[in-house]
C-alpha cells in the first residue's frame, strides 16, 4: 500500500452509521419539490388573476394564521394570532412578548416566511427598507469557487450585540439564523427554550444532529422550508442555542449542485 494512503487511513475520522432512513426521507422530499413549485405557481397565477386567496402562515406548530396577501406587502405582513383553531393543545408561553412586525426589532417573530417584516426572498435593499434600518453585509460580499456572489448580512450591525444573520445569495435572503435570545418563533420558542418546550410546541418535529454534531430539532413546512433548533451543547446543554430558517436548502444549492 502506498504510504500516503496508509497515513490518511490511520488518521481518518471514523464516521458513525449511515442513517439510510434519513437519506430516503430527504430524497423523497427532493423528488416532491417540482410538484410543490408547480403548486406555488398556481397560487401566483390565482393572485395575478385577482382571485381572493388566503395564504395560511404557519411555523410548524399546527397553529396557523390567515394572512390576506394582496392587501399588504409581503414584508410587512401583520400576523393576527387567533384566526384559526390551534391544532395542538400546547399554549404558547405566557411570557412571550407581543409581536410587532412593522419594523425589525427584538420583538419580531420568526416563522417559515421569515423574521418579522423580513421575508425570505427579499433583496437586501427591500429588507433594509422593511426593517427600517440598514442590514449590513458582514463581511463584504465574497465569491465562492464557482464565482457565485454570496454574502452574509447581519442585524443589528453593532458588534457584540445579540444578532441575527441573514444568509444572502444573489442579493436575496435565503436563510435567517437567530442568535438573539429576545427573538421568538411565532409559537413562542426562543434561544434558551428547552428541547422539551420545542417538542411540545411542535409535536411533528424531528430530532437529528446538526452540522456541529449537536442535537437539532427540525420542523418543515409543505414548501420544504425548515426551521432548525440547534442545541447549545457547550454552555447550556438541553436548551436551544441557535435557530435557523432556510428555504428549501436554497443556501446549499448556491454551490451549483
Amino acid at each position: 500500500m502506498n504510504e500516503i494512503t496508509e497515513l490518511l487511513r490511520d488518521a481518518a475520522p471514523t464516521p458513525s452509521e449511515l442513517d439510510l432512513d434519513r437519506v430516503h426521507r430527504e430524497g423523497r422530499r427532493r423528488r416532491q419539490r417540482p410538484r410543490r413549485i408547480a403548486g406555488a405557481a398556481a397560487v401566483v397565477l390565482a393572485l395575478v388573476a385577482g382571485v381572493a386567496v388566503i395564504v395560511t402562515r404557519d411555523d410548524g406548530s399546527g397553529r396557523s394564521v390567515s394572512v390576506p396577501p394582496a392587501t399588504q406587502p409581503e414584508g410587512s405582513t401583520t400576523v393576527a394570532p387567533t384566526t384559526s383553531t390551534p391544532a395542538t393543545t400546547t399554549p404558547p408561553p405566557t411570557s412571550t412578548p407581543a409581536a410587532t412586525d412593522d419594523r425589525l426589532s427584538s420583538t419580531s417573530r420568526l416563522g417559515y416566511a421569515g423574521l418579522g417584516p423580513i421575508t425570505l426572498g427579499m433583496t437586501l435593499a427591500e429588507a433594509s427598507q422593511a426593517a427600517g434600518t440598514p442590514i449590513a453585509h458582514h463581511p463584504p460580499g465574497s465569491c465562492n469557487a464557482e464565482g457565485t456572489a454570496y454574502a452574509d448580512a447581519v442585524w443589528p450591525p453593532a458588534a457584540g450585540a445579540p444578532f441575527v444573520v441573514f444568509g444572502v445569495s444573489d442579493d436575496r435572503i435565503v436563510t435567517v439564523r437567530v442568535f438573539d435570545p429576545s427573538v421568538y418563533t411565532l409559537s413562542g420558542i426562543r434561544i434558551g427554550s428547552t428541547e422539551a418546550d420545542v417538542l411540545s410546541t411542535y409535536p411533528n418535529a424531528q430530532i437529528g444532529r446538526g452540522i456541529y454534531q449537536n442535537r437539532a430539532v427540525r420542523i418543515t413546512d409543505a414548501q420544504g422550508r425548515e426551521i432548525v433548533f440547534y442545541e447549545d451543547t457547550y454552555d447550556t446543554p438541553g436548551t436551544v442555542g441557535a435557530i435557523v430558517l432556510a428555504t428549501s436548502r436554497a443556501a446549499e444549492e448556491v454551490g451549483g449542485c
Binding site: N2, I4, L7, R25, F163, D232
Partner: protein
C-alpha cells in the same frame, strides 16, 4: 433492497470520512455525506447511468462543503459555542497532526489528495469530481504530497505506477 441503498451503504464510509477530512470536521463531513447521498437517491435513475455515480456524489459533497465555508465568521463564532467539546475525540496525536496538515493544504490540493489516496478513486473519477483534467489531478496530488512529505516523510508511488 434496492441498488441505490446498496450504493449508499457502500459509498458512505469513505465519502463521510473524505468529506470529514476535507472540511476538517467529522460531523460536518457526515452531515454533508448524508445530504449528498439523499440527492443521489432522489435522482438515482439519472445518477446510475453516469460513468461514475461515485464521482458525482463526491462532487456534490465537495460543493456542499464549499457552501459551508462561505458562511460568515460571525456565525462561526456564534456556532462554536454549540460545538461538542474537543475532549471527546480519541484520535492519536499523529492522526490529529495528519488531519491538521491535510486541512492546511490549499483547497483543491486537499480535495485531490483525499479523493485519490484516501477514497481511492481513479484519477478519472477525481478529475470528474473536481471538474478538471486528469493531468491537473496528478499535478494537484503531487503538490499536496510534496507538502505532506515535508512533515511526515511520506514515501510516494507516482501516479503512473498506480
Amino acid at each position: 433492497v434496492s441498488d441505490v441503498d446498496d450504493f449508499c451503504r457502500a459509498t458512505w464510509p469513505a465519502l463521510a470520512s473524505s468529506l470529514g477530512f476535507y472540511c476538517h470536521d467529522v460531523g460536518v463531513g457526515e452531515e454533508i455525506a448524508q445530504e449528498a447521498l439523499a440527492r443521489a437517491w432522489a435522482r438515482w435513475d439519472a445518477v446510475r447511468e453516469l460513468e461514475s455515480p461515485e464521482a458525482w456524489v463526491y462532487r456534490v459533497g465537495l460543493n456542499l462543503c464549499r457552501s459551508r465555508f462561505r458562511r460568515s465568521r460571525a456565525e462561526h463564532r456564534a456556532l462554536r459555542r454549540l460545538t461538542v467539546p474537543a475532549a471527546v475525540t480519541t484520535a492519536t496525536a499523529t492522526a490529529i497532526a495528519v488531519r491538521a496538515a491535510v486541512a492546511a493544504l490549499p483547497e483543491r490540493q486537499r480535495a485531490a489528495v483525499v479523493l485519490r489516496y484516501f477514497a481511492d478513486l481513479p484519477v478519472a473519477a477525481v478529475a470528474e469530481a473536481l471538474d478538471c483534467a486528469p493531468g491537473t489531478v496528478r499535478s494537484l496530488t503531487s503538490q499536496a504530497i510534496e507538502r505532506l512529505r515535508h512533515d511526515f516523510e511520506v514515501d510516494v508511488v507516482s501516479e503512473d505506477a498506480r
